[in-house]
């Protein structure tokens, strides 16, 4: 049976935990790189944050950048940034001005392009206002994270909350890093998009954790936490992929329309952040949140004991072989088995009565999953 059919039937047996050490390292590298990127190449903040005036207007009279600039010079704004885009839209940007300055600029621009002053699109933001918008956004973000942490702790447990927040952090930083890299203008729409990303990422993670919890509830006492997480990830894999796709389809069309249509600037800014975010968010719930959770939970005494027992059961078989055929959930440990082997040997001799040696091969997951 090929892999596509398997995925369609929800019968995949990927060992996500086995490769989690590698994926976590990759994620860590990306996070660090994103931080560096933000330092090296700071965000291109829109005037909503920095304060300033932006005027855009359709160029109705073949005005050139020079002709506009000379017109602006007459009112003392010769140093304004003047651009004419491909679809003949004139954009004039200055620092924050007082009310009189704004009006003078507005009329000068209207004059320069021969447009009625009322056909101008204008945005003027004072400098203090912009700083407050930023502060407010950060405040909203912090409160959001705290509330979400409380909710997940209440609904599941605190380790899950911690893992979910770690994944969120990962998504945020990487999305921010990509933004810094591309040099896209960061606007309030971007902030909205980022907050949406958080929502998506969390939702995804919550769905995985929900499954983990359910499987713990249903499973017998022999399954290790790694196995449960793995099994859960396989079960929700198609949901994750499908949900990402159905979310990306509208966002993708938003992005497309944003690039094709004029007047869709906001849409474009929004869609790009979303597109990056949803993709990273889906990845992180599978490759960051779940493995982190598995790592933390496996250290708890109860689960560590189970792990030790499971290791002992399969300990006889060739370790290297096992790492390769990690797809089977009957083989719980992958790349990090070496280190854990030592740990579990220690706890085994201490805590485990020798009589507790089960069958050498764990039951296939199918059987275990059957309802009683």
């Amino acid at each position: 049976m090929n892999i596509v059919t398997r995925m369609y039937r929800g019968e995949t047996r990927f060992d996500f935990i086995a490769i989690s050490r590698k994926t976590l390292i990759v994620s860590a590298v990306f996070v660090v790189a994103s931080f560096l990127m933000m330092v090296v190449k700071p965000f291109n903040l829109s005037i909503d944050f920095t304060g300033g005036v932006i005027i855009t207007v359709e160029n109705t009279s073949d005005a050139t950048v020079e002709s506009i600039r000379s017109e602006l010079r007459t009112v003392g704004y010769g140093d304004a940034r003047v651009q004419i885009t491909g679809d003949d839209i004139v954009q004039v940007q200055t620092e924050a001005l007082d009310a009189e300055g704004q009006d003078a600029l507005t009329f000068a621009v209207a004059n320069a392009v021969g447009a009625d002053v009322n056909d101008l699109n204008e945005k003027a933001v004072g400098p203090t206002f912009g700083a407050e918008v930023t502060r407010k956004a950060i405040q909203a973000l912090v409160v959001f994270l705290i509330v979400v942490a409380i909710f997940i702790t209440w609904r599941f447990e605190w380790r899950m909350a911690l893992a979910a927040l770690a994944a969120l952090f990962h998504d945020l930083v990487i999305a921010a890093g990509i933004y810094a890299l591309i040099g896209f203008v960061v606007t309030p729409s971007t902030i909205i998009a980022v907050l949406t990303i958080l929502g998506y990422s969390l939702y995804d993670t919550v769905v995985v954790f929900d499954k983990v919890n359910e499987n713990i509830f249903e499973d017998d006492t022999k399954t290790t936490y790694d196995q449960i997480v793995n099994q859960s990830l396989n079960q929700v894999l198609m949901r994750s992929i499908n949900t990402s796709l159905t979310s990306l389809l509208p966002v993708g069309s938003l992005l497309l329309v944003g690039f094709l249509a004029i007047g869709a600037e906001t849409l474009k800014e929004f869609a790009l952040a979303l597109f990056i975010g949803i993709a990273v968010g889906t990845y992180s719930s599978i490759f960051v949140a779940a493995p982190l959770l598995a790592r933390w939970k496996s250290r708890e005494p109860d689960w560590a004991r189970r792990q030790a027992r499971a290791d002992k059961r399969s300990g006889a078989s060739d370790d290297r072989d096992a790492a390769k055929s990690a797809g089977s959930t009957s083989k719980p440990r992958g790349s990090k088995s070496q280190k854990d082997e030592e740990k579990s040997t220690a706890s085994k001799t201490a805590a485990m009565p020798p009589s507790d040696v089960p069958k050498t091969v764990a039951r296939p997951p199918k059987q275990r999953r059957k309802r009683r």
Partner: protein, 504 residues
Amino acid sequence: MTPKKAWITLILTLAIAWGSLAAMLAVGWAPKLGLDLQGGFAVTLVAPDGTDESTLNTAADIMRRRIENLGGVQEPEVAVVSGPGGEASIIVQLPGVDDRERALQAVGTTGELSFRAVLAETTESLVFLNPEGEHPEGTDETTGLATEDDVNKPAYLAGQDDLLVYAVDGIVVDTPVGTTVVFPTGRDITDATAQFSSQGLGGQWVVVPEFTDEGGEKFREATGYLANFPPGSPQRQLAIVVDGVVFSAPAVADTVSPDEGLDPDAVIITVGTAENSEDEAKSLAAILRYGALPTTFERESVYSVSATLGADSLRAGLIAGLVGLVLVAIYMLVYYRSMGIISIVGLTVFGSFLLGSLILLGETQGTTLTLAGVTGIIVSIGITSDSYIVYFERIKEEFRHGRSLTSAITHGFSGAYRTILTGDTVTFLGAVLLFMLATGQVKGFALTLGLATVIDVFVAYFYTRPAAFLMGRGPLGQGGLFSVRGAMGGGEIIEVKEPVEVSS
């Protein structure tokens, strides 16, 4: 659940969803568009530190009144908000306003209240000349006669170039000629209240102003001066002028003698007994109290969108939404076969509820749909699609574990619903927080997102559950590639024994 119950629930839900939206559209309700979608003008004004709320509210009232005077503004929104940093500010939003200058003037200038003597009442065009003896705009160059019969404009009477004359509603006012009488201004009034007086036949609405000591003296002198004119003469009127516009011109009572004038401590301005007298009295009181804006505002931000850009944005948003919907529909059909039909119809149910709520909020709360709101809707397509995916994947899983198709559909729901509920709760929490904490367009986004999660939970229970239940039993349940069974990836349960290689 029995099939009968399922049918009833399903039909009821569909009827409510589609019916209510159709009804709203039929009576001509539509979502109110924000100014970024229909063009318009927004300005944020920040008051000095320590301005109290009542002052702000008054200022907002005055601005609102001035904007109404502009005419042509569909739904001006003047809101007192605490700015992002807690500073007192007023946000003025004028969708559809295409006169930038006048709009700015209406909200920007502090304006002035003054009392003036009435020179004459006239319906004729006046001869206008400004203090420099030039003909101002709107007058004929040679005759000096007004070319536009616009008596609302401040005007100057020819030949008396040291005198400002206002002509409004046929009332010509002036500072009195040849006297030393100083008329009071807004600064001379400390308070004014609208009251219902039981005097007169059946009582009437009156306004009672209070003056400063100095103002009271001015008022006494002014009314004394006006009392020189015979009762019934237009010149016996005292005009209340705000920003060059005569707001009202009550006549000085016949009993007032020229020597004494009116006692400032016993002044009442009668408004009348007509139905709108109460409103009139209250607005006159407000004018007297704060004819001018009670404080000066700093213009903090201006945002103006031309009507063409607004229309372009709206079109772009709609196209993106439609294309996205169609793509999602195709994907769901291909992947989930006949169950995809459930999700497609479900999207229309979801959309009807969402649109209906937005229309309702627009009609009752004046909530506008902005571009951020539209993006919220597009994002919510993903949210609601996910609920179907969670459920359908759940059905597949239950089926693979040996349940019958109908049993998998029924049992799958309870598990899936718990997941949907948890996920939607997280998103809802986020939306509520955003709505409370954020400002401006983020709020509009949070609103649609929050609504979407609530509607999603509702639709899953009252639509998806009965629809899936019935489909499992119906002709699309068991047979063929397109059936629900077909979406399970074949009819038999296959035990997977060999492990799958994974490349890392």
